[in-house]
């Protein structure tokens, strides 16, 4: 969905979200919004700007929930950004979101467009809970590219992706594996309200992935290593 179609559905009573190219931020009622659009590539400048907005919200609106609306094709592929350590900029955004979490800000991610690799890692995946629209696209890599890199025939990957959630693109796979908590459909304002009322608690994604059958080992293996095997 396009961001200009999405915002009125999420905030039927209006908002003051302002756009600057691929970046936007603002508020709607008592929710702060930070996002990107047009399949933005997440570079050092963009992630630094998002982190700055998170810190501003912490200062100016203590405790206010933060909704991340990120449409991204992944990290920016740039020699200059890599030279100044792009990963440190994305890690900084992660630290700022965690800082907000620690100060009582609820953080919710909604994948409304594309969410790819490090672009997804640095945004909605860091939220307390991540949701998606049904038409959203979530992936690391498409199957033809994966076939080229892994040298596994495309037909084999396609066949396996019918029964396994672990490598093929798709929101349904990320739901099965617990990373996407649920789909928002119909009345999106009501979906947001319900998500804000929910307490997702600590990182529950492994337990969800196990319950949903898409990721059956992660919870048990981490518990084995923790030494509290159940």
């Amino acid at each position: 969905m396009k961001i200009h179609d999405l915002l009125p559905q999420l905030f039927p009573h209006g908002h003051d979200i302002a756009f600057d190219g691929e970046y936007f931020a603002g508020s709607a009622g008592d929710v702060s919004v930070i996002g990107t659009c047009d399949r933005a590539a997440i570079g050092a400048a963009l992630s630094h700007r998002m982190a700055g907005e998170v810190l501003r919200i912490c200062r100016d609106h203590p405790g206010r929930p933060i909704l991340l609306l990120v449409d991204t094709l992944g990290q920016k592929m740039s020699r200059r950004d890599e030279t100044i350590c792009l990963n440190a900029y994305i890690a900084h955004l992660a630290k700022c979101l965690d800082h907000a979490r620690g100060r009582g800000h609820k953080t919710i991610g909604l994948v409304y467009g594309e969410a790819v690799s490090a672009g997804f890692l640095s945004s909605s995946m860091l939220a307390d809970a991540c949701y998606a629209l049904p038409e959203a696209e979530v992936k690391v890599m498409n199957l033809p590219a994966m076939s080229r890199v892994t040298k596994i025939p495309l037909e084999r990957l396609e066949e396996l992706s019918r029964t396994s959630a672990v490598f093929a693109p798709g929101v349904a796979n990320y739901i099965a594996m617990g990373a996407v908590r649920g789909i928002w459909e119909g009345d999106l304002a009501a979906c947001l309200k319900a998500a804000l009322a929910e307490d997702p608690g600590p990182d529950t994604r492994r337990a969800l992935g196990e319950q949903r059958g898409g990721r059956t080992l992660a919870r048990r293996v981490s518990a084995d290593v923790r030494g509290d095997a159940a």
Partner: protein, 283 residues
Amino acid sequence: MTSWLESTARERVAGLLDAGSFTEFVPPEARLTSPHLAQLNQPAAFDDGVAVGRGMLNDEPVLIAAQEGAFMGGAVGEVHGAKITGLLERALAERIPVLLLLESGGVRLHEANAGLIAVSEIMRAILALRGAGVPVIVLNGGRVGVFGGMGIATCLCDLLIMSEDARLGLSGPEVIETTMGVEEFDAADRALVWRVTGGKNRAIMGEAVLVADDIAAFRAAIRLDPVPLDVEAEHALLGARLDRFGGMEDALDIWADLGIENPARVPLLDTDAFHAAIRGKTA
């Protein structure tokens, strides 16, 4: 002197910790392999490419994870990632510092979704440790370097120790060249690759402590004290770096701008001479 670069993950663990003190959790005898690799007829490893456990460092207890770069480039799959997350969560419960001996190309494509989610769980677990004041130290000296999501996770930690042979980045140079063209990044230009991603540039950027390629040198650089995280100060620092250096064409220009003498010679300096050359001149 024992080269970190030439050692396996388990040799690094043995060389780093007090002699004989390592106890592995879920060891290879448990035969915990990745079912996803088997499904794709790929060879599996009984530790899924990472050893995790506990040991002593100068008589202090530590938890430790070591990725094996020789197995699938240290890439993170479901089991591999869950072992690291479990170790980090154990560290939070027991309040014991963590050493992460990383060598990873990032997410394992054969189980890409599981790997990506696992990296984000590792990130959340590291952030929880930072919040609790339990230190997490990354040691990066392997041939593969640390890239992708593990490169982000690395920058969440208290301290990063690197050798000059090691690399740290987000997208690998080959991926950038394939996606954006050779004009953006010539991955065959090894000197360029190291100027961008290598240990020396990361030390000049203030992201890493540079040590010689010697297990004893890595060991000597470890500090088990938590580094307080001040996100506002970090924000200002990264903003200044972006404004000052973000548009520069080459790391050589950045090094020159910082006042480092004879920047073209920096890649040739040994570790001691390098430290002398950059003293007071880091970003």
